[in-house]
Symmetry: none
């Protein structure tokens, strides 16, 4: 805090136009867009809002995107990508017990519920889904289906090992996720869900899997 340095620094009236590499700006704009779109929905969100939230001018946004629609598309694309990579690394021949299933599938699911981006993504898909029908289709195909296939494989291995009972879940791996999806929807409809409730639902979910899968 050397006073001398500050003394003859004329405070620039304009905050010294930030000039960042495009990739950084695009990221900032998408971050801002996520916040704004999720808050007000796509239609009600103004480009000014996004620009302000991203810390640049309206025109600046248009340096990187050609339209509001394009921002929406880029945002959804970015939101869906990570889900892709998130799948647990395959495991050789460890015993597949319910505990393992919980660790590999259930826990990450409830963890992601804590991440606001998850709710936001889902809300965007639901609220403005029509606008993104194609993207949603791709997402199903590239992310959801392989994920379910993975779970099914896990279950079958567990059953083959005699660690899991053969029941509906073996045929319908979707059901493994249902209680979590249910929670997610509640979270979405209500806006929040207190930690206690969340924890209780997680426990119930696990208990249910035990009843269905333990031999």
């Amino acid at each position: 805090m050397t006073p001398e340095l500050l003394t003859d620094q004329p405070t620039p009236e304009r905050p010294a136009r930030q000039r960042l590499p495009a990739i950084v700006r695009v990221t900032q704009i998408l971050d801002a867009a996520l916040r704004v779109f999720s808050d007000k929905g796509f239609a009600a969100a103004r480009i000014d809002d996004v620009a302000a939230a991203a810390g640049l001018s309206k025109g600046g946004v248009y340096t990187h995107f050609t339209s509001k629609e394009e921002i929406f598309g880029a945002l959804l694309t970015r939101l869906m990508l990570p889900l892709h990579a998130n799948r647990p690394p395959l495991h050789p021949d460890t015993a597949v017990t319910v505990d393992v299933l919980v660790r590999q599938v259930v826990a990450p699911m409830y963890d992601s519920l804590g991440d606001p981006a998850t709710a936001l993504t889902l809300r965007l898909m639901l609220a403005d889904g029509a606008r993104a029908q194609q993207l949603v289709g791709q997402w199903r195909e590239m992310v959801v289906e392989p994920y379910l296939a993975d779970i099914q494989q896990l279950l079958q291995r567990g059953a083959a090992q005699g660690h899991l009972r053969r029941g509906v879940l073996l045929r319908e791996p979707r059901l493994v996720l249902s209680p979590g999806v249910h929670t997610m929807l509640e979270l979405l409809v209500q806006g929040t869900l207190d930690a206690t409730a969340m924890e209780r639902q997680r426990k119930a979910h696990i208990a249910m899997l035990r009843e269905l899968l333990e031999p």
Copy 2:
């Protein structure tokens, strides 16, 4: 300009579309509004869209409502009315088996998935959640909670009768609904779900309940 000629001449110049009683029009407009709002969300919906969907002109809508907000409000009110009556007819002291549970709970749920109004309402709650906070609150209070209480009572009766096994579902009746909610979300995200897929999910749901509840 013979007066006689004018007297019984129906003026055919103006098409003079339907002039219907107000109650009919209001109903038509709200039906249209539900469709349009659910489809595009409140903000993106144009009064013209609602008017067109209701089969009258923009100005015609304003004959019955003073603003877009008012239409939204009236729509919420109307959506809430049936909520009070909707609960399944109470049951005396019949044996509560899984079959009964399916008939009382699961079947109606999948039936309602077929009704567009269900999806539309849910989508409205998700897309314009903030605006529809009132709807969301009332819906929880008037529909979800009593419904769950009902189910819990059923389950406990069945358990007391020895027809149902005591498991997680007894403590967490939510789980009885989870697979159906999961299906509903898929329906919402994808826009449609073919009859085959729906039937399969219904069967899996029932099978799961059997595994969890049959003694």
Copy 3:
């Protein structure tokens, strides 16, 4: 001018929103657009200008046209139509002398040069022609070509009657118009052409036709 009538008439602050039938408004808007576009060119013309010139609000213009481009298209279409109908009604077997040719072809041409709309149309076609390439093509086909065919027929009839000499013009009726087109271009480039110059060029045009056509 009965004072009583005026006394308790509160002068309405707002000038009593004009409400005219669409056809009238469309006409007014196109009139205004002709003036504005010709004055500043399509690109530099603002919708506000057109609206102001037409005596309504910007939004009012959009009640009748969906875009600036559409106004341009409608304007050019309207400007080109009359040229179509303008062709002299065919005449049975009158003698076709140079005088007749002048009366039927040359005179109307120079008359139309006096009409500002002619210059404006041409200017629009030239300045913003790329935008209207298709329209220009249609115009050639529907208006220009038949017009030239007409002239050629006239010339050949005159020649057959022995009233006109057989020369280039018989093969190339375009040339009948060339001096007039030349004048038109000068008019366009310079913005105006004084009456004296115009008259002189008209006379020269006729004299040339005489030299080429009189036997």
Copy 4:
């Protein structure tokens, strides 16, 4: 940060497009501007368009010009320069026949129609006439008038020599050019004119001159 390393390392990170001497760049930019302005008109032309057409970036254009207007001005200036020199080489006292006239006047005219710059310049004068008033004035004064005077002199010499007939063209040398001007306008309106049509019109032009001038 070894200085040695930096010394002879060509920095390949930035493509560092051509860094050319200013005069070259200015020429390229004006070439580009002529194309772009003629194509879309001054108002509709974007600096980006000009820059792209000149093969550099928007900012690069501003290194050489301070505004769009300045580019326009410089372009006009450059377009005017050749006007001074363009006049056909003077002719001593050769016999002036129609053939000579064709060689001296008609041929160069149709040749220049092939040169895009001609059409471009004319279109510029027409489209942005108000803005190019200066160009228009100078062009008349420096090109058109002397050119017509030249032609008139030629014609009179030919007539005096008995090689040319005394007719309207002697009084109105403009008419010598009219068919060519007509062709130019068609070229302008249509964007292109195939070689066959052009050749045919040239021949008709010459034939007409013969009919008017040969004794």
